[in-house]
């Protein structure tokens, strides 16, 4: 399995290219790439989700096409007319608007399926490893929660069995109360024990308070983000300054996260190693990222006002195929998923 950071880069590249691509041919290519990666990198036992990319596509694309066709009345190829007295939907229903909506649905499907692949290909532990260190306390809550989930599932089963012995049956919603209350109370009991144990072991007793300077920087970063964003939107004359302010705000926030993370002492039990496969994935994302930076115009396509066949540049298509890297360099051996929080032994 590849490194979580490489996977994240892959998913973000997918997100970027799907949001920029208006050209249905490229979007369709991206969808094929994702489905291929999904089928290679996600093992059969992880196909638990009721919402596979295919089902999402079958639902989203027609819906987006239909809504857009009904609510937008641009385009010259009229299919039929709805009476004008209907608010919003009244007017001409055009083929162009239908196509435009379908492209939107296609792009949404690409985004959805690439992130589904990202989620399913990685173990929960690797996803948590992506959280920055500054979020230590939130991370502790998260890992307590994830540790307690299987325990909660088990105690749910125990309580249900105990209630079933007493003749209780789960029929409607109302029958959940005698199950939920003991579940909650026993969970709170465990929380109390855990809190006592943590206090007894000195958790957070010497936690360094965050420096006033750091928090001032945090506030300043937010001010710059807000000012920069609104400036870039509403004051075209000061665009350069606004973008600089936006950039400085991002730098300030990232700096705060980084410097707060440095104060958290934290050791990794099983460090992940960066392998050649990960470098290949990054290299596979590179052509698409470069295309997005340099040749964004190539992704542009508009069905309005007259529907025309979108252009397809084989070189761009070849660049997008680099995103197949996770599938091409996938590790074939079957993997045990020890840390699945929902599987009870």
């Amino acid at each position: 399995m590849a490194d979580a950071r490489a996977w994240l880069l892959w998913a973000l590249t997918m997100l970027l290219s799907a949001s920029f691509s208006r050209n249905p041919l490229y979007s369709f290519l991206l969808l094929l790439v994702t489905v291929w990666v999904y089928n290679t990198c996600v093992t059969a036992e992880e196909h638990r989700s009721p919402l596979t990319p295919l089902r999402f596509a079958l639902f989203t694309i027609p819906l987006a096409a239909l809504f857009n066709a009904l609510s937008t009345h641009f385009g010259r190829t009229q299919l039929f007319r709805l009476p004008d007295w209907i608010p919003l939907f009244g007017g001409a229903v055009t083929l162009e608007a239908l196509v435009f909506g379908a492209i939107n649905g296609l792009n949404l499907t690409v985004i959805f399926s690439s992130f589904t692949t990202f989620n399913r290909a990685l173990a929960v532990r690797d996803l948590i490893a992506l959280t920055p260190r500054a979020f230590h306390e939130s991370g502790v809550v998260l890992s307590i929660a994830l540790t307690f989930v299987p325990q909660t599932v088990r105690s749910l089963q125990r309580i249900r069995e105990a209630q079933a012995v007493r003749g209780h049956r789960l029929r409607g919603l109302r029958d959940w109360a005698p199950v939920f209350t003991p579940l909650l109370v026993s969970a709170l009991e465990r929380a109390l024990m855990l809190a006592e144990a943590m206090v007894a072991r000195g958790y957070a007793s010497v936690a360094a308070a965050v420096h006033t300077r750091t928090r001032a920087l945090l506030a300043l970063g937010l001010v710059m983000l807000l000012a920069g964003w609104l400036g870039a939107l509403f004051v075209p004359a000061a665009r350069a300054i606004a973008i600089a302010s936006l950039g400085m705000g991002v730098v300030a926030l990232v700096g705060v996260v980084w410097s707060m993370g440095r104060t958290v002492r934290h050791t990794v039990y099983r460090p992940r190693r960066w392998r050649a496969r990960d470098t290949w994935i990054v290299a596979g994302c590179a052509p698409t990222l470069i295309l997005l930076l340099v040749e964004r115009g190539a992704f542009y396509y508009s069905p309005y006002p007259d529907l025309a066949w979108p252009a397809f540049d084989p070189l761009v298509g070849l660049g997008l195929l680099g995103l197949l890297a996770p599938a091409l360099f996938a590790a074939p051996p079957p993997r045990e998923r020890h840390d699945d929080p929902l599987r009870t032994p």
């Binding site: 997100l15 970027l16 949001s19 920029f20 208006r22 009721p50 819906l63 809504f67 857009n68 641009f74 608010p87 919003l88 939907f89 909506g101 939107n104 792009n107 985004i111 989620n119 399913r120 929960v124 306390e137 939130s138 502790v140 809550v141 998260l142 890992s143 307590i144 929660a145 994830l146 307690f148 989930v149 109360a177 939920f180 969970a187 709170l188 929380a191 109390l192 855990l194 809190a195 943590m198 007894a200 958790y203 007793s205 006033t212 928090r215 001032a216 945090l218 506030a219 937010l222 983000l225 807000l226 964003w229 939107l233 509403f234 926030l253 705060v256 996260v257 964004r296 542009y300 929080p341």
Partner: protein, 261 residues
Amino acid sequence: MVRRLLAGMIYALSGVLGILAFLYPFFMPYAPAVSANAIQRQVAPLLTAALVGLSLLALLLELQEQTLSAKTVALMGVLVAVTSVLRFIEVAIPMPGGFSPIFAPIIIAGYVFGARFGFLMGALTLLTSALITGGVGPWLPFQMFTAGWAGMTAGWLPHLHKRWELPLLCLFGFVWGLLYGAIINLYFWPLAQGPVEQSWTQGLGLKDTLLHYAGFYVVTSLMWDLIRAVGNVALLLLLATPMLKALTRFRRRFHFEVERG
């Protein structure tokens, strides 16, 4: 004094930034830089997603510093676990529409433990259940923010006489059931609309945008959200009384102190 001022500033700024980023489709038509430039329009949804993510990060940094001691860490972790298990049941047994059992516990926890706890509880519950059910994606910061707001506003509710507590929480749950869908759609809408030409043409004013959004909302999500709102009320009717009782009792029990000898 300076600390409190800074904390207040961080809450206010990240709140304003978050709300504006959610509402941007409505004021975007008035932005001269955007309506003139096609590339800007394409960047806009991504930029707002990044802004929501960043302000969420800032708010979480500040809140975790203020709220999470050893005791609340354990309490919140366990509450999040129980709520996420409820969410897992939802995924395993498909319920009708947008029904989701996670809001009732978030609202009750926010009501009992206050606004800060409520925000963190909402945000971290969504994060945990996204990790478990495989729902991490660009939509996650929006979901975390919105669920956090549900928990936070629950902390602002007045603590009335016992008789009015349940109706108040039910009404609140109903409103948030609808509101959650409407807010989350704001993220989804510009993408579903397509970032060019049609929706953000220069002439399109606030009224048309609102009308457009209303149409989108009624067609795609009103039924879905109504089911969620009614489900919230049903769950709150069922769970609020025992859960309030248990949480209030445990809130007292969590006030233990270690004697330093």
